[in-house]
Symmetry: D2
Subunit: 350 residues, 4 copies
């Protein structure tokens, strides 16, 4: 089967590197172009990037010449890990020039005509691309902390409804990119603030779980309150979560665990290449999930949950965890692309 | 002024070491006896302990011979950092033999006739010692995570009332004693569970903020929901806190900050040696408090607060921090002893 | 092809867990028995062990019942990760009862009739098993820090000779097993001492590079001076090394790099399943090797080298690195077993 | 006594912050001016700096307006923590304008007419300022890793002579300034390279221990070979050191310990305010010194030594440690200023 040629935007950054790692042996996509800042343009990739992965740069990519965002590209499909400071202009321009941009950036996530999709939850929202008036399209995935929260909330919301959600995140340093957090600020320390993060976590899940109508997405009507902290962990965002169901709804922890564990979606039904067999894995041990032990569950594509128990303020509290640069970023974009392809939604554009 | 002779129970442990450090130049107390496990008994202290403080063992203590808990002691006042597995029997026995035991252990905290005191909040509860039927007495301070929570809640509860409190803790490894947490479990990791901790945090603050009646303490009628995690930080417990005030009560963040900052109690009024000038310090920076920067505020005896802001589920959320082995353990016990002494409550017993 | 049944001694410990992980899909060996301390005996493995790997326990192993070292075993081949406090007696007994014990323990490494083998270097030493007078045999691999040093020294010693070697190690916490190093001792700290380690590093390489004669092994006649430190790294031992060649021998760094990079041995020639394609990988970057980036080079079985440069006291200095629990422990034993099998040396014993 | 007015150059950086902390209550110096980059100029200090100390900014300094290096200063004495990229020009200009610059920068350390002084070792070198042809003067202290090495070597060199020294450093992240080392590069990792560091360590000690002649400093004739690594420690440089004495000189470890422990210099004799009572403290424990336990020995101004033992290649090996931002940087400069003042060497210039 012929693989679709793809370009990586923001190829030298943390998310870009993860795209390259994840697409290295992908059955459907083949990296043919790399785009980064003007500072990197013209250099072979291995010189332009400060490679931080613990596997080597794939040979075919290492010697590829990096282009800048002013370049005309040939690949019909673009994976974007661009910094939000430049993503807005570049993604808009490429999508209007006919490219389908699968973006991990935050710029267009809340735009009314841009799908913000987790394929297990709302693949029907992909439909929005036809309302963009672009010859190409922009498709986004969620913020890395929203990802695991939205996945855990999806079956609960659809089964029980939700009134509110309270979350405290303990986020890994890789979420801040490179050079990112100075070591003097985080070694043996906690920073109880991440700029712009709480706003994203407090509103993205409602769009993802919202209803597609002719007028756009009607967000799901629950409140989220988030406090986001940075902890000295390399990979893996952990979140303590309390959920309040609607008045009169009070499932037992065992029922909730069953609801979470049995949840499946389109990626599982269509057996997409990057799909985790089980999107939500509930661990029985009382001291799990832990970043150092559980982020690689199902290749880093599952959300891992533990400590599901009754709460005295909400109904249920639990601890959730996911791999922030895999399922929380590059892997989410790749799964979106696979879902689009499998549904034939890109047939007219690729 | 003649100093009161004191003994340290559990002298070789983490809390015992901190007692020794804090009492080194104390104007009112003089260490004359050291008690530890039978394994340490008979040895000079510097051989019996695995000293982990970053100041040397005081010379007068280093060569003192360690005794075990079966020893008869001469000091009228005992500071106990005993492990809860042995504290129950030993503290009871010493207190019945006429000693006043200032305990950091959890065993008797919730006993109806034992005062659980933070001197800024409920020094009137010391009165309970007269109901113990002991020739001596047992006085306790709170769990290390409760300490900072209770201190932050005290002025809020008394000014506005409280309906419920939601807290997620990020606790330092020193809270687990020595050898405590294996490095393989916590380096670059988070453990989202600490055995027995959540139960303590969920009930101790209500006793501390409770009302002393003839029948005992009537606990303050609010609910606390706690999730406790361990993070790779040496010293300093950080807590994200949401507070719900009673129906119709909704002070602004500025009012709450004013209420917190202006709070003073008996230790400040009596100018006790270990009292922080300001028990609650509110920082204006949006990324504070942080363990590595703020635990030594006022000698480690203040609770440091930041990010006071409105919440959409409760009324107010904030981040609080304190030094878990100083104000959260040994320092709390020392301040209790100072408060007892200053009020003359030990005049008949010392 | 029928796989050889094997047992894991010390199955619940850190090295035992790594044996299980490495042998999970091994083409030649099949785990049929698990042995640990009496405390674990009788329990299913998943209950007996505190699993610390970031992949799950293989299903076939998880439910296997653990036996203790008094058990009679059926597997002809035993991989031992026993603690040295019990390895001496147990390994001796099993080997006399006809089992071939591939041991990672230090007890018999320096015994005159026990081969201490790195298959790339001295597979001829396996011959010693015929002098043990055991119906089975004991075969050992080196200490984890010796492993990477000996591998780097082997081609240099054989090409240029060596007068002395000076090494400072920066060792990972996983080398101390579990619970191992308390987090209070190593988080944000360095411990400049590891009990018994320097003695091993100072004498094992000479036996490995020694000559087999009728009277036993004549050790290679060079001196090693070692200082061993523990650093807050999970996996990966890094070593700074200075080498003095014999008087008049002074190869350039380029020649040394060529000598290191081109080195191959029996595992490569026989294409053993666990053999790294290139045993010594020299990186060109001036800030490499690094534990977090390079330990998984060739599945954790290569020694990674960098900063090869002239020295003003010796001739050459360099930095070396390896995965201490893979090539430095369990992986070394597995490779020894593969080399024995491939050479037919176990045909009479298995 | 009237205090000498001083200015801090590079006041917003890591070293500048430490100058401010150390001079806060200094009996001889009073901070009256702050100098930093043009970006900070015009702002009050508390806004211009990203304060990383765990004590608050002194009130008198917090509101002081920062100037840039083009400013004319009134303070006769300047403490410089300027980055080496700007220190060269600025320090030269100020010293020619009549200011005495006590510099922690590396730019002029090896200049023939600039004293590179550790007051315990070579206060006679201060004399060089009269050969600079400046109306003011430039005085430097050593690199942070050189500091502890030179201090440990001084009594050995003067007692026994030295042929060569071999050192591997394990350096703290605070040595790289702020933002300095990205956390993704060092959390759970070791970086075996620090740009420019080895060259400094390999030549500065010889100048410090050199002889002042009419023609300048004749460096001490021993060789130093250094490998410098960065480890995940906040403060404290640890070094493993091997020393070779001249042919025929072979003191026992006990003699060496006695030589180190009994060493005193001018700061001790003149009882300077920042002088450690004992410059070299030798610990008896086999697992010391450790950064987390020993850097604050004598207020962070002593070099702490352990594991003094015989070596098979050199004569003696040992482990040394010091507080890199106190004795290794700002504290060294302050002690230099105190020594100059106490000797009356600045009488004509201040």
């Amino acid at each position: 089967m012929k693989r679709t040629p793809v370009a990586i935007l923001g190829a030298t950054g943390t998310v870009g590197q993860k795209f390259i790692t994840l697409l290295q042996d992908h059955p459907q996509f083949e990296i043919v172009e790399l785009v980064a800042s003007p500072r990197s343009a013209g250099k072979p990739y291995h010189e332009a990037t400060s490679w931080k992965q613990n596997v080597p740069i794939p040979a075919s990519v290492a010697t590829m010449t990096v282009q800048d965002t002013s370049s005309t590209l040939t690949a019909p499909l673009l994976f974007s890990g661009l910094d939000s400071s430049v993503a807005g202009e570049a993604e808009d321009r490429y999508s209007k020039a006919g490219h389908v941009v699968i973006s991990n950036s935050s710029n267009y996530r809340m735009a009314p005509d841009v799908p913000l999709v987790i394929p297990e939850i709302n693949p029907d929202h992909f439909e929005l691309i036809h309302r963009q008036g672009r010859s190409g399209a922009i498709i986004t995935n969620s913020n890395c902390s929203t990802m695991f929260l939205a996945m855990a909330l999806a079956p609960l919301y659809r089964t029980y409804g939700i009134e509110w959600v309270q979350v405290t995140t303990l986020q890994a340093i890789s979420g801040a990119g490179y050079p990112g957090v100075p070591s003097l600020d985080i070694l043996g320390n906690v920073i109880p603030f991440i700029g712009g993060e709480e706003e994203k976590v407090e509103q993205e899940a409602q769009k993802i779980l919202g209803t597609l109508t002719e007028k756009g997405i009607t967000p799901a009507p629950f409140r989220v309150s988030a406090t986001c902290t940075r902890v000295p962990v390399v990979d893996g965002h952990l979140e303590t979560v309390t959920v309040k169901f609607p008045q009169g709804v009070d499932p037992s922890p065992e029922e909730v665990i069953q609801t979470l564990s049995s949840w499946r979606g389109l990626p599982q039904e269509m057996n997409l290449p990057s799909a985790p067999g089980q999107p939500l894995v509930v661990l029985p041990d009382q001291d799990r999930p832990q970043p150092a032990r559980d982020i690689w569950c199902n290749g880093g594509m599952s959300t891992v949950i533990g400590r599901v128990r009754r709460d005295t303020i909400g109904n249920i509290r639990m601890v959730i965890l996911g791999h922030n640069t895999v399922r929380g970023a590059a892997g989410a974009a790749v799964l979106n692309a696979e879902a689009l392809l499998a549904q034939g939604l890109l047939d007219d554009r690729l």
